[in-house]
Each structure stands twice: as C-alpha cells, then as structure tokens.
Symmetry: C2
Subunit: 501 residues, 2 copies
Amino acid sequence: MTVVESIDPRTGEAVEEVAPESSADDVARACAAAADAAPALDALGRDGRARMLRLMADALEEDREVLVEVTDRETALGATRLNGELTRTTYQLRFFAEVLDDGGYLEATIDHAGITAMGPRPDLRRMLRPLGPVGVFGASNFPFAFSVSGGDTASALAAGCPVVVKAHESHPASSARQLAALQRGAEAAGAPSATVAAVFGRDAGVGVVEDPRITAVGFTGSVAGGRALHDRASMRSRPIPFYGELGALNALTVTPAAARDRAGAIGDGLAASFTLGVGQFCTKPGLALVPSGPDGDTLVAALTDRVRGTTAAVMLNQRTREGFASGTQELRGSPGVRVLVGSPVDPTAAAVSPVLLEADAGQVSQAMLEECFGPVLVVARYSTRDELFATLSAVGPALTATVHSGDDDELAAPLLDHLSARTGRVVWNGYPTGVAVSWAMHHGGVYPATTSPLHTSVGAGAIRRWLRPVSLQDVPAHLLPAELREDFTGIPRRVDGVLVV
Amino acid sequence: MTVVESIDPRTGEAVEEVAPESSADDVARACAAAADAAPALDALGRDGRARMLRLMADALEEDREVLVEVTDRETALGATRLNGELTRTTYQLRFFAEVLDDGGYLEATIDHAGITAMGPRPDLRRMLRPLGPVGVFGASNFPFAFSVSGGDTASALAAGCPVVVKAHESHPASSARQLAALQRGAEAAGAPSATVAAVFGRDAGVGVVEDPRITAVGFTGSVAGGRALHDRASMRSRPIPFYGELGALNALTVTPAAARDRAGAIGDGLAASFTLGVGQFCTKPGLALVPSGPDGDTLVAALTDRVRGTTAAVMLNQRTREGFASGTQELRGSPGVRVLVGSPVDPTAAAVSPVLLEADAGQVSQAMLEECFGPVLVVARYSTRDELFATLSAVGPALTATVHSGDDDELAAPLLDHLSARTGRVVWNGYPTGVAVSWAMHHGGVYPATTSPLHTSVGAGAIRRWLRPVSLQDVPAHLLPAELREDFTGIPRRVDGVLVV
C-alpha cells in the first residue's frame, strides 16, 4: 500500500504521512456515497445549501491558523499569500450562497398554454437542476482557491451536486484538513456526510473520471494532464462534461503610446505580475509585446531593474522546478534570444530566481508561444503595427490578454477586436494575475485555455457547469417545484417571454 | 465523382441529380469562407441578424409550394405534415429574431470597480459572443425543422455564427432549395454570402467536424452516427463542443387511477402519438407502462383497435425501413412478447404498417429498452408499484418521459421525482411527440439522449450552445460594445449583482 506523504518543498523532505493512496474500491465507495447523497443535498434547497456554504466558510475560518501553517509547509507560498487566498476562498463560498439567494441561476422560465403561429402550445415550465455527483481535481498552485475548498467545489455544492475531490499530491495534508472543515460545515447544515469527499493518488483520479456515477468533472492543471483526463471523460461509454482549465500564455501588449506615457510604471507592474507567487499563476503574463525604440528601452530597463531586485523563492514542488528548469533552458536556446536577467536554473536548488528574456518579434519561437510555468517572461520587441498583429496572431487562445494603451490610441480598438476574438478576459492598463470572484468574471477560453469554451471556473457563471435544464409540460400546480409555481416570487423568472425580477 | 441523387422513397427511384458529393477541397473552402464571414455576421449586430432571420423566413415562405412538393417527393411525409413543419420552421427563425430583440441571451453583466471582502475589484463587464463557424448535421426525419433551415441553423445564425450544413442524404434536393432560400434572405439583409453553406456526402460531414475553423457542431440523428462524430470532435487536436441529439425511448406511464378514469382516451392518444409521422419522431413513445387488470385491458383494447385502423405508410428511406424491419423482428423474438397488431415487416415493400407488442413488465428485454425508429410500441403491463419503478429504473436517460395520472394520485409525486432525475422533459397527461418552440422548452437530456446534457436543441436556450463569455476588465467606455456601456438600456443586464430589466 502506497502512503501519500506531505513533502516540504523547502527541504524536499517528507514531514507527514497523510493517508494511504485510495484503492479502486475506495473510489467506488466514495462515488457511490456521493450518488446516494445527491437527493438529500438537492432537497436541502437553495436556502439550505446557502446556509451550508456559509457554515463551511465559517469552519475554514475557525481552522485558519493551522490551515495556513500546514499549507505553507507543503507549498512554500508564504503566510501572507496563503492568508489572502484563504480569505478569497471563504469569500467565494459565501459568494455562491448569494448566488443561491438570488436564484437567477435557475433560469426559471414559464410559458403559459396558448395559441401560437405554429399551433396550440401546452403549459411549459423549465428550470435547471443538479447533474449529480461531480469530480473535482485540485490544482497545485492554489491550494485553497482551486483545490478542495475552491471554486469548483463551491459552485458544484451550490448547484446541489455532491463532490468527490481528487486531492493534489503537492498538498495532501492541507487537502485533508480542508476536507475536515468542509465536512464539519456540511454536518452543521444537516447535509449528508458524503456531500464532499476526497480521494488520493493518480489512479484514484482516473477512477473518479471513469466512475459511472460521476456526471461531470472540474479540473485545473496542466495541458498534458487535463487533456488526458478530458479524453477519458469523452470516451466513456456514457461521456460526461469535462471542464478543464489548462494553460495560457496571457500575452501583454504595450502600445507605443503607453510606452511613451508610462514606461517606468509598466516595467514595474509587469515585473511584479510575472513574479507574483513565484510565477505560478495560470494568468501569469508569459509574453510581453513592447515597441522597439527608446520608450520601449526605458520600459525594459525599468523591468530589468525590478526583476534583478527580486529574491529567489521556493517553487511548489520538485516537478514544477524541473519543468521550469527545462522550459527556461529551451527558451534561452531560442535563436536571437537575449538574456536580460537570470542564470540557468538549477533544479536541485530549492529556490529559483526569475528569468527575463528578450527577442525581436520576428524571432518569437514556438517555445515562446507556449506557457512556461514559473517566473519567466519573454519580452518581444516589435517595430511596426503589422509586426505586432502578426505576433499576436501566432499566440494561441488564452485565459487573458492585456493591453496597455495611451489616450486616443489608434491601436486600442483594433487590439480589443483582435483579442476579444481569442481570449476569455481582456485586461486594460492592468495586469492579468488577479482574478476577482464576481458576477461578471470570466475565467475561461477556447482550447487550450480550457476544454470547454462556454464555461468559466471563477465567478457566478461557474455554477452553470453542474446544472441541466428540465422542462415540465402541463404538470399539475401542486406537483411543481416552488420556484415554478404561479404565485412564487423572489427570484428572477421569464414568464411568457418577459423577464420578471 | 459521385453524384448525390434525390430518391423517391415511394418508388425507390432516383428522380434528380442534386450535386456532386463535396470533395475535401470543397469542405475546406466552405469552412474557410464561413470563417471569413464570421466578423461581418457578428458586426450585423442583434438588429441586423434579427432582420436577416425574418427575411430568411420570408424567403422560405415564398418558396413554400416547391419546397413542400420536392420534400414530399424525397421523404413521403405528405403535404399536410410538411406544410405544418415548414410553418414551424419559419416560426422558429422569427422566434430567434425575438430572442435577439430581447437581448437577455447575451447575459450582459457589469460589476463596477469597488472594494470587496477579498480586496479591491476592477471594473468587469461580461457578455457572450459568437464562437465562430459551426457545423450542422441535418436529420432525415424533420427535413425542415431539424435540417438546413432548422433549429440548429436558426440558433447559430442568431448567435452570429456562420453555418456549414452537412445536408442529409435522404433529402438533398430539399436541402439545396432550402439553402437557396436562406441565402436569398442573407443577401437581402446585407449579410455575407458565406453566412450559410451546405456540403454533401458522408466524408464531407466528417470533414466539417474535423476542419480546424469549425468551432462547434450540432447534430440530430442516430446514436451510432452521432457518437462516432462526437468522438471525432472530442479527439481533435483542439477539441470542440459537439451537441448531438441522439435517441430516446420516451417511456409513457399510465397509473392505475388514470387507466380507471380515461382508458379509452389514452389508448386512442397513444396510438396517434406512436404512429405520428410513421413513428419517425425522436420523441416517439417506444414503451408504455400500463397496469395489469381490467382497466389496463380496456386501454390496451382501445389502443389495439385504433392501431388496427391505421393504414400502411412509406418510411423515409430504405435504410430506415431496414432498421425498422430488423428492430421489430428482434422485439417480436423477445421471450414472453405478445403480438397485438402487425405482421413481420417486409423491407422490400415501400409502405410499413404499425406494430404493437405487449409483454409483462417482468419480461421487458434489453431490446425493449432501446429506441426502435418507426411505428412500433411495446406495452409493458405492471402489477405493483415496485414493478413499475423497477421497470422505469431500467429505462435509460431520455428526451422525454410521460405520465398519465388521476386526481389525487399517490403515484404522481414519486413519478415526477423519479422521471425529472433522468429526463429532459416530463409530459403530464399528454403525449411527447409535439415539441413546442418556446422560451421554456427543453429538448435534451443525459447521454444517450444527447451528448451534452446542459443544452437544448429546441427553444430559446438553443442559442447558448454557440456562444462563449468574454470579460472586459477596465476597458475604456468608448471601446465597449454598446450593450456593456453605462447608459445602455433595452436589454436585461445584471449590474453589481442585481438583475435590471
């Protein structure tokens, strides 16, 4: 029996045995229990589940000190960052309670019986309902916000879907403690104990995706890992939706006007953004398009200065560090590349320093167009508008794209057009690394940014992934769900084609 | 070069050469032209596309006489049915124009910048935008409503996505004429000529699914064909959404109370429903659960009488007829089956007569749990509540489930619970064969009813399949799309979490 160990990335040593790897039987039991729990979780209703999410947030807050301590020991992300991330995570649970209170997510729709141009129409009432048990894969880089108690879990539980989390091997001890807090919250709310569960180990993850009771999967991680699981989910005898948030280059464009106006500030901001959290953000800018000429030079000088002043930091785990070492090595070998900051990465050293590279836009290589996880940025210097757009056209679909423009900038409108057509979120005069939990957030995009371009993993819309519509035709009033009854008020509904709030 | 011929199913003879089968080059050209047309179709805006859809409906109406004549010759569905279906189809195009006028489908959402419990939040504005060119596979059984000018096309064009239709081999001449009408409508609206195109032949269909410019596919047809294309779409180097509406058994349950109250009427209604359009509806009831005992006997007697009085009719094509012959042969061979109406089907005869079979619920076979396309119904007689629910539990997920119940029927609530959990639409005291085009319709379900349980192919929600969200962060007001500007009114928007109509 393999035991899952908690590794301290600062020392490379195992400091805790967390759990045995889950066997195939363990996985089947967890999925069966989740399926059994589904009707009761649904029956809690919007009020009951909103209460549960708030109690889960409270339980995490109660455990804040130990959660941050254990998670820092496993991830080396530091107490400041982890306290902030835990705040985000409890905020997110409470945010989905608000989404439930609002009720608009149900898309409640009523068409009364009547005569139409295509003939008589029956009474039709449509509403979304939970898909059933779902699998969630925690990500290494956000041990709270995209892990056991993260957005996939919060949105799925809000929808009424029990969750089986595949805990990430990079923070198993944190995963187990988060799970315990969530389960306390579920219990306090009178929800079934199998409302949320966790399994450990790679085989267990595959087992969750292939379990016949699992109805959908949420995943945040690498393109390779996510794609393999997507393919399994799609090729099941009964395929299920797979929402994978994979990778992105997150190109950032500085127009000549912006470089003229704010070279120093942009250089500083860009340095802070690509080194934030040791560059381990899925929204990290990996390529910056900066004009050639003196304004661009000033920007690059400020950027270089700021990066030189950044201290070495410990990455999440050995594998991440090795990927960063090989990725930066490949980038450094690209023809025409200029190394502005950083020596070759030593994957045996715990701490890594940021790497800043520069190339002419005409020499942007395939490696520069792919995400390299970690604190590395390539600055591509462009000379003409055509060269700028040609380079942007070579960049694949991404979670974000950022533009720094000036006032009355003639490049602004064409850049927005170009980037909106291939990006999930366009950031203006800012940096992509922050991802707000809110109603209007979209954290998604066309493949390979995600495997499901219609959906988001952050923000209110994330709940839609775990719901399917059902229409009730001429069902007697007393049998209808409350939200579809004639006299129900308090949620937005579309009645005979008109939205009523 | 293979030529696509229009076959008259009444005679089995080719009566028209419609077009050459599309070559790989033809497919690539059509997809490239669709991609080139996408920005202009998007730029038409909601008003422009609403106008286009109405002009397309007008163009189809202008051609009504020839369309019905040609389509009847290819499908043998008869002028009455086809006139009704064409009315439905033009209604559907105009309905999506209304969906555009309403604008709620954009899910426009604005979060103003502010301070939240997780820190400062930027200005975020989210809206849906078109995915890009989409592929649509016409179905044989609805040559208008689920074909070239059908719901997939109407909803995709409404969304702003150019459409490449793979014309169904069972009605190529109708497909070509529908396409011409749609193109006249597009031209009249000032839309690009490549707004809608068609390709012919099976290889061409595969080519559309695999073309790198195609961003999503809509399909209505068989489980085998749909599944194969779903797998191709999922295994592309860049996977795309595949919305396949495949098959369904559409079980209909009659409670003892309903059999007592309305045996004769239900027998009549059920006969009409399963033989409608020669049983060639994806919502055809294929299994009826009827109580044993005298009330059920009365119902089955009425049903049998009515089916005996149904005349033979011509099915869509040779393949459909052969499937019906082999499917009914397998059903007749199930242990314990009783043949109430119908002799073995002769696949060489143009016209087929309906087949009505009966079995005890305890002897429902696997064949009886799968869709058999054509006018065949199996009546399963149940003795107890447990036997009823055990049989329903063996039925797979479906597009519809129907219940006939009595007043104060103790079975009503448990049946609704059970069926809502595994069905797209639950029909009460009616028949599933009619599918209204409306806001509250859901025509979908869990696999194998469809490949995408979140979505519908009929009703307002169908447009959501062709749209993806984009968030704009701190984008200057003058660059925003009109619907996201501060002072815009006229569509529902969610502003700072509150839905405003």
